[in-house]
Symmetry: C2
Subunit: 191 residues, 2 copies
């Protein structure tokens, strides 16, 4: 049996994505994913609770990238400045080399309603994690939720634009364009 080693999760994740894209998500088993990288089903389930999770492996890293951005913000930053700092920090996760991988992953998700549901909940959970971190920095409850969800919303819109066919811009300028659009759209509410 293969030993636990660094990178096993990543190898399983890559194999899962390739198989899901080539054969279809429903048609691929955890055993086949494990075998594709010379591992056993048992090893697969040490890394992932189920087949779907192999596609959502990056959630913790993404959440950590968001939360790391809070450290870069000024101590007296407004809630939305904290949220935007978290959002910009997430851009480090989506460098240009990752774009084709992200496109392939999204095509697998778009083809399967159960994966779309899991993805939707993952974004909700990202918002909750960020909202909790904002409250921990002293932001009041509703403001923390609003700021966190604005950041996650902007992330989702920017991500879809970043992986769109023919898009050349990097993730961060797209994110900042979306944030400017949030300001323009929400502007009338501030008066």
């Amino acid at each position: 049996m293969a030993r636990w080693e660094p990178g096993t999760g990543e190898r399983l994740q890559d194999a899962a994505l390739e198989l899901f894209a080539a054969r279809g998500y429903e048609q691929t088993t955890a055993t086949e994913i494990a075998q594709a990288v010379g591992l056993t089903e048992r090893t697969f389930f040490r890394h992932f609770a189920d087949k779907r999770e192999a596609l959502f492996h990056g959630q913790k890293t993404l959440t950590d990238a968001f939360l790391a951005g809070l450290h870069d913000a000024a101590p007296d930053a407004a809630p939305i400045e904290l949220a935007v700092s978290a959002l910009r920090s997430s851009a480090s996760f989506f460098d240009d080399e990752r774009r084709s991988h992200s496109r392939l992953r999204q095509s697998v998700i778009d083809a399967n309603p159960a994966l779309q549901e899991r993805e939707a909940l993952k974004l909700v959970e990202l918002g909750r994690a960020l909202g909790g971190a904002l409250r921990a920095r002293g932001v009041e409850g509703t403001a923390a939720e609003v700021a966190a969800q604005i950041a996650v919303m902007a992330f989702g819109i920017a991500f879809a634009q970043w992986i769109a066919d023919g898009e050349q811009r990097s993730f961060e300028p797209i994110v900042m364009d979306v944030i400017r659009e949030v300001g323009a759209v929400a502007g009338p509410l501030a008066h």
Copy 2:
């Protein structure tokens, strides 16, 4: 076999909620839900694609309530004004008599990750429907998405407050408080 009749969907929905709450979602079958109101499993599946859908029966009505709000807006309304008009219109769906039902339903959803996933995707789909309607009124793509998702975000935050223990305010004033908070939080982005 029972005949198709108006209200059958609602009766099945109510029976499903009661059984899910009393016995647990996983422990309740579609057959049991149907039998509880004197119908067959076959009738159940004429109304709902699966057991989960009995909990999300209101999605179309909710979406329609949002979209109906667009008709009340001025022809030259800004994107966010259109979105807020849609959001306010949804308040008609959540009158005070509905609150205990909504609380019970949420307690069932909160106890089951698969239901939380479905709910998260339903909100994403609500945002897409509203975004599409805004684009159909001539709002540019990203602005339409931002305005629609702000409305859905405010809806979600307001809904959670509305069903919170001890909350007495009606849905619409809660929604308008959340919208004011969005304005306050996003205000710095508008400059």
